[in-house]
């Protein structure tokens, strides 16, 4: 299944950083997110668009993970030549990631 089936996301931008929150609709799905949506996997998912490692923060009681991604200097919001200069659509792209159902 897609992350979109069990979680929602919101994207924010700060300079050349993009933050993406990933929130389980049901708190019981949080462990699946925590196990499968690792910082490394998110970095690989976005490898064409970001540089460097991804940071991940966990807020289990809110069922949420928070990711911080770094965009290349050329793609900071003011200088970016991308149509989505802020990177606001990136959260939707994260929800396209495949995850496995856990028993």
């Amino acid at each position: 299944m897609l992350l979109h089936d069990i979680a929602h996301a919101r994207t924010g931008d700060k300079g050349n950083l993009v933050t993406i929150s990933l929130i389980a609709y049901r708190v019981e799905d949080f462990t699946l997110l925590e196990r499968q949506v690792t910082a490394e996997r998110v970095a690989a998912h976005f490898r064409e668009l970001i540089e460097g490692p991804v940071e991940r923060y966990a807020l289990p009681h809110l069922g949420a993970l928070n990711f911080v991604l770094r965009r290349p200097v050329a793609n900071t919001v003011t200088r970016s030549l991308l149509l989505d200069a802020h990177g606001k659509c990136l959260g939707s792209a994260l929800l396209a990631m495949e995850v496995e159902t856990e028993g």
Binding site: D5, H8, A9, R10, G12, D13, K14, G15, N16, L17, T19, S21, I23, Y25, H45, R47, E48, L49, E55, Y57, L59, H61, L62, G63, A64, N66, V68, A74, T76, V77, T78, R79, L81, L82, L83, D84, C89, L90, A93, A96
Partner: protein
Amino acid sequence: MKTVRIGAGAGYSGDRIEPAVELAEKGALDYLVFECLAERTIALAQKARLRDPAAGYDPLLEERMEAVLPLCARSGIRIVSNMGAANPAAAAEKTLEIARRMGLGGLRIAAVSGDDVIEPLRSGVVAAQSLEGALPPGDRWLSANAYLGVAPILDALRAGANVILTGRVADPALFLAPLIHEFGWSVDDWNLMGQGTVVGHLLECAGQLTGGYFADPGSKDGRKDVPGLAHLGFPLAEVSADGSAVLSKVEGSGGLLNRATCTEQLLYEIQDPAAYYTPDVLADFSHVAIEEVGRDRVRVTGGRGRVRPAALKVSIGYHDGFLGEGQISYAGPNALARAELARDILAERLGGGSFAELRFDLIGLNSIHGALLSRDAPVPYEIRVRAAGRADSHRAAALVVREVEALYTNGPAGGGGASGSTKEVIAIASALVPRECVSPRVEILES
């Protein structure tokens, strides 16, 4: 038990005005806060001020004040906003003029300044420590503004100001200051400062808390459906003396306020949730509890904090060249091949020139997330070729527009709908300065 009701009247400079009027009319508010200053807004406002010394405040200030000032004056609602942008004094003068024109006497209008630190920084009197890489050369700087905290807003509130107009202050401070003032909180009570910052952070993007930036129609169980989005209402917080807050919106307004919308907004633009830097507190959002207590009513508690940082953040807006962009469409059989040919012609003609960077997109196929994430897209019926380039001169940037348009008579068959534009790039660099080098000031006018 005393509570304070604070509404969010705007989440950015161009935001809709009608939800602010709705809040002023029906929200039983004590305070109405307008957050209108994104990172680059103040640099653009500074450009406007350089052209006209009476300009440089929010372009919608007049329209907003005309819409809410009579209501707020009548109901005793105090207005706090960073609509002063690059010129809080002129914003206060303009508001005074509006108040007088509308027959609203006895209003005290405060201008908070002192955030502008471009002169001491450029002359080297104050040393700024860059947060990333080297700072751009001083001759390219357009603005340098420190993020002020609650102190000058508190001064204005104590002086009885009905309207407070600031330049750059930390967004949550616009909300935190009224809470400190009303409840007599100590500004060194870090947990109260942290919880007040949580409230401010949740409110500062207005409609993003009440169902804006949230809807994903057709979702399972309707869990991402938002009713009445075309008439989205803005949020208000009912805050108690211990900092706990119930967030809501006025009855009958569009939108949705629940655990999901609040969790998204709590983490919005946050890096480490346990360390959110503001001028007033190093806030900790990691223990925040979000509890639905009714329809469109959510209780938020548990914000914490640690001692405020020693340095203040400064945003430096600087000239960073020009962008040129052009687009042209191809449609029908073999559209993709013709669009690719057009792209290759543009790459050859613009490449090797005076561009710092060039980019070409085929819109309708992979322009948003690149080939990897859009891998299964079918070949579409139509493709829009987009060329974009960044250069030091306006003339070079304009070349992108000219070369795209030239594809009409010099490119593949059937190109149509060419468009293009250029713009100056105002970039932002961030730095830290010692707190004691920044001196906020408050000036009060009376209608």
